[in-house]
């Protein structure tokens, strides 16, 4: 029986569970011996002019080697970061003239020891004349204050055209709603960390916590104006990323610059309170959705208008509305779909990718819109979805927004999840509680979703792998994917083992060293298995071809007669198993090694359906998720244990956003959630165990038949939970509650609905 599709426990775990993983701050590499510790001094003012940065007292403090400010960085141009960023909205490495968010780096203290850095950083006196802070998107739109006066605008990027005036003219019913998809913190448990060492050969080695070393290398090479080949990036074990560790952060490059400047290795590991203001935040969209159709339940037109919060400096988050618009129509057959967006700068932490990155925002919007439409026409939300889902398809389907869905069976996913949840029984239970006027009301929320994973051929859709079998029977896989918890070492070894017959414990998977693996796309966009895994699969197949030529000479056989002999881990003549030659023996005289680049035919579109069941205490407003049932179809599953783990984590992050999590600022731009004591990171007590249903609709975009699974759970669960909370109190007259659906928000919504009902004299 093939190992593929089986629940193989992880090969990574024995080390992780005895000595622990080795994260960047754990490194004891001798090149880092005597490294200076970097401590950033960050602005505590959201927006203002830097008058003075007095480093004198800090420079005299114990253990301080240097205090670096903007004045020292004369050879560095301000940072553009990504090509879509306007040259008028570039980012200073250290703010010397203007600070634009609380957390903007102003100085770096370099000390012999870690604690000395914290002491000395407090002695750097930064005098800032405050400007008005642009904190809310509504303030940014007004442009009374510009973050970048030279740009003449707060708009960092626009997408799409305005909605045509006659867009909804054919519709009997049109419902509109302003929706906030709130700013949240990614919070990987490992904060950001970096270390740098310059060799006598003029090359720099940078260790840092990231999701793809090759991209980090290219960015730092460009940002520091270094010649190609001078930057070597090593990714140690990474303690979670969730999109927020895509690419290099400015601090990483600055650590490298500082190491050269000081002639000594430098290392940095941020604290959590630094992380919660310094690392990108996710989401941050104000949306206006409008949905129109007929009273029979047919949706004819849908529009989403987005204002994306870029934060203080345009970064990846600025570009994400393009994905929200691309995925706007979701799983539905809607004739007219409109999407437009503006990304605006504000005096807050820059935004970036966070699990789903633009797609959860699309799903949350349309799934809320479907429920609003259902409520307006008085139809069950499951029935409205049934009437509008795209029929099952196996040939690519082109959407009005330009996506080409590869394969889908959305109705099957919906019916599966409804049956598993016992939807009709839940509605009966809900009706009983409503009739009784129970304090604890039941809410049932549905979401059906489709998302985009992997990449198009020229946009991240390729990945590199090397497979080598050694003479001692061991095998080594090099991959350009970059795990941070997903289990690549196990999954990729399974793929090679299935083809070559080499047992898992003899296969080593390596990643994240740009000298050994110059090409790679990292791990993001749920691409690793479908592209990185497909590359390993392809390389192993090519290795067999290479071995076949060699074996044919040795065995004096026709290559076409040689077939893989899995128990032998080699090749045998067809019909005479066990008489052949092992791959190890074929590697005795010259390396048996293949480098291969897999190019995906196109992106893939995983889909699914979730049902959330919540209980809402109508007196306190507190909502508890009591059940979460999900179908997440990601095509062929390589290892159900790993795939379920991805779904669990994704679902939890979605519940966290729907119920609890939000980054908050006061009106002056001071962060109110900059520690884990303040930021309501979802804990074990706030979650149920999840009910997962398996479904596999293969894709033809890669030979594995696999789509991405890393982000699906988040995309599906977030609107299911939000819809469920609203559903629990809908009979009281509540129509919409923004996320997070905190007790205060739910309680307020109930009371406002009651007041409105009393004012109009109607019974609710």
């Amino acid at each position: 029986m093939s190992i593929l599709g089986t629940r193989v426990v992880r090969t990574e775990d024995p080390l992780f569970l005895t000595q622990g993983a080795t994260y960047t701050d754990d490194l004891t590499d001798e090149r880092l011996s005597g490294a200076l510790h970097a401590t950033f001094v960050r602005s505590q003012v959201a927006h203002g002019r830097v008058l003075t940065v007095d480093t004198a007292e800090a420079a005299r403090a114990s253990g301080v080697v240097a205090v670096i400010t903007a004045a020292d960085l004369v050879d560095l141009e301000p940072l553009r970061g990504y090509s879509f960023v306007a040259k008028t909205m570039v980012r200073p490495w250290l703010a010397g003239e203007t600070v634009r968010f609380v957390g903007d780096p102003v100085a770096v203290v370099l000390t012999e020891q870690r604690y000395q850095g914290e002491d000395a950083a407090e002695l750097v006196a930064v005098d800032i004349e405050p400007y008005p802070a642009v904190v809310r998107l509504a303030d940014s739109v007004r442009e009374a204050t510009l973050l970048f006066p030279d740009a003449g605008t707060n708009v960092a990027k626009t997408f799409g055209d305005p909605r045509p005036k006659d867009f909804f003219d054919d519709c009997e019913v049109v419902v509109s709603q302003a929706i906030v998809n709130q700013r949240v913190a990614p919070v990987p448990l490992e904060t950001r960390a970096a270390a740098a060492y310059w060799g006598t050969d003029g090359r720099v080695t940078i260790w840092c916590s990231n999701q793809g070393a090759q991209q980090v290398r290219d960015q730092i090479t460009e940002w520091l104006h270094l010649d190609d080949g001078l930057v070597h990036v090593i990714t140690p074990d990474v303690g979670g990323g969730f999109g927020a560790k895509i690419g290099a952060d400015p601090e990483f490059a600055l650590i490298a610059w500082l190491a050269r400047h000081q002639g000594r290795p430098v290392r940095w590991a941020e604290s959590r309170s630094e992380n919660l203001v310094g690392m990108v935040h996710g989401r941050g969209q104000d949306q206006t959705v409008s949905i129109g159709g007929r009273r029979d339940g047919t949706v004819q037109a849908y529009s989403i208008e987005i204002v994306q919060d870029s934060g203080a400096y345009p970064w990846l988050g600025t570009a994400l509305p393009s994905l929200t618009i691309l995925m706007a129509p979701g799983v539905y057959a809607i004739d007219e779909v409109h999407g437009s967006a503006r990304s605006l700068v504000t005096n807050t932490t820059p935004t970036g990718a966070y699990r789903g990155a633009g797609r959860p925002e699309a799903t949350a919007a349309i799934e809320r819109a479907m429920d609003l439409f259902a409520a307006e026409i008085g139809m069950d939300p499951a029935e409205v979805r049934r009437r509008n889902l795209l029929p099952a398809f196996t040939e690519p389907h082109k959407t009005p927004t330009g996506a080409t869905y590869d394969s889908g069976n959305y109705l099957a996913a919906l019916e599966e999840v409804l049956a598993a949840a016992g939807y009709d029984d839940l509605r009966r239970e809900q009706a009983l509680r409503r009739d009784r006027g129970d304090v604890y009301q039941l809410g049932v929320g549905i979401s059906t979703y489709v998302e985009i994973t992997g990449g198009e051929p020229d946009e991240g859709g390729e990945e590199h792998a090397q497979v080598e079998v050694h003479a001692d029977g061991q095998a080594t896989i090099l991959t350009g994917a970059s795990p941070h918890g997903q289990g690549h070492a196990t999954g990729f070894a399974m793929l090679a083992s299935a083809q070559l017959g080499i047992p898992l414990d003899k296969i080593t998977v390596q990643h994240g060293d740009t000298d050994r693996i110059p090409e790679g796309g990292g791990t993001m966009g749920s691409r690793s298995l479908q592209q990185g895994g497909a590359a390993v699969h392809q390389a192993a197949g090519e290795l067999i071809d290479l071995a076949r030529q060699r074996a044919a000479r040795i065995l004096e056989a026709n290559p076409d007669d040689l077939i893989v002999d899995l128990p032998l881990a080699g090749l045998s003549v067809r019909g005479t198993p066990g008489t052949g030659i092992s791959f190890a023996d074929l590697a005795a005289d010259e390396p048996l090694l293949v480098d291969s680049t897999f190019r995906a035919a196109a992106a893939t579109y995983p889909f699914g359906a979730h049902v959330a069941v919540v209980e809402v205490d109508t007196e306190s407003g507190k909502a508890e998720v009591v059940r979460l049932v999900s179908v997440d179809d990601a095509g062929t599953i390589l290892n159900p244990l790993l795939a379920e783990g991805q779904r669990h984590g994704g679902i939890a992050q979605g519940v966290g956003q729907a119920l609890l999590e939000e980054i908050l600022y006061d009106d002056a731009g001071n962060p109110l959630t900059s520690t884990l004591a303040d930021y309501p990171f979802v804990s074990a007590t706030e979650l149920p165990s999840f009910e997962l249903i398996a479904m596999e609709t293969v894709t033809g975009m890669n030979p594995l038949g696999a789509k991405g699974i890393g982000e699906a759970g988040t995309i599906g669960s977030t609107p299911a939970v939000q819809n469920a909370v609203i559903d629990a109190v809908a009979h009281l007259g509540v129509r919409h509650i923004d996320m997070p659906t905190t007790p205060m928000r739910v309680w307020r919504a109930i009371n406002e609905a009651r007041s409105a009902a009393e004012a109009t004299g109607t019974e609710s």
């Binding site: 622990g20 448990l189 074990d237 918890g485 669990h648 759970g713």
Partner: protein, 167 residues
Amino acid sequence: MQISMIVNGQTRTDDVEPRLLLAHYLREVCGLRATNIGCDTTSCGACTVIVDGLTVKSCTVLAVQAQDSRVTTMEGLSAPDSELHPVPAAFRAEHGLQCGFCTPGMVMAAIGLLADNPDPTDREVREGLEGNLCRCTGYHNIVRAVRTAAAAGPAASSVPSDAQVTA
């Protein structure tokens, strides 16, 4: 100042700053880097270790406060090349870890939880681990792992240097 304690069964004496946190002492002085630091507000539990039979968050204890104590970190649970301790073994079997950063603290907290309650329900596991945050697993498989470990009996709530964790 000079401190002395037993770490994973070995007696140590070191000269440390009085303000040195136990977490930093374990990581940087003892070289035991399995114990991780994930926050600065005693919220995440990644740094959980067992001190004299009690689970503590080592970022909230000064090294000097552990004077004369017996401290166990995840490195002290399973002897090299021997079978995994029942709790880490269950974490592996149930896929109760992904990136691994919360894992050392989660494993130590689970041992303390099982010492307190040898046969917990799902809800009791969730409440017992509320002080340990994980961003990867959604806790689903951590809960399963702790319940699987409970089936191993008293061995699951023991650490090699302190035969039985008290709670």
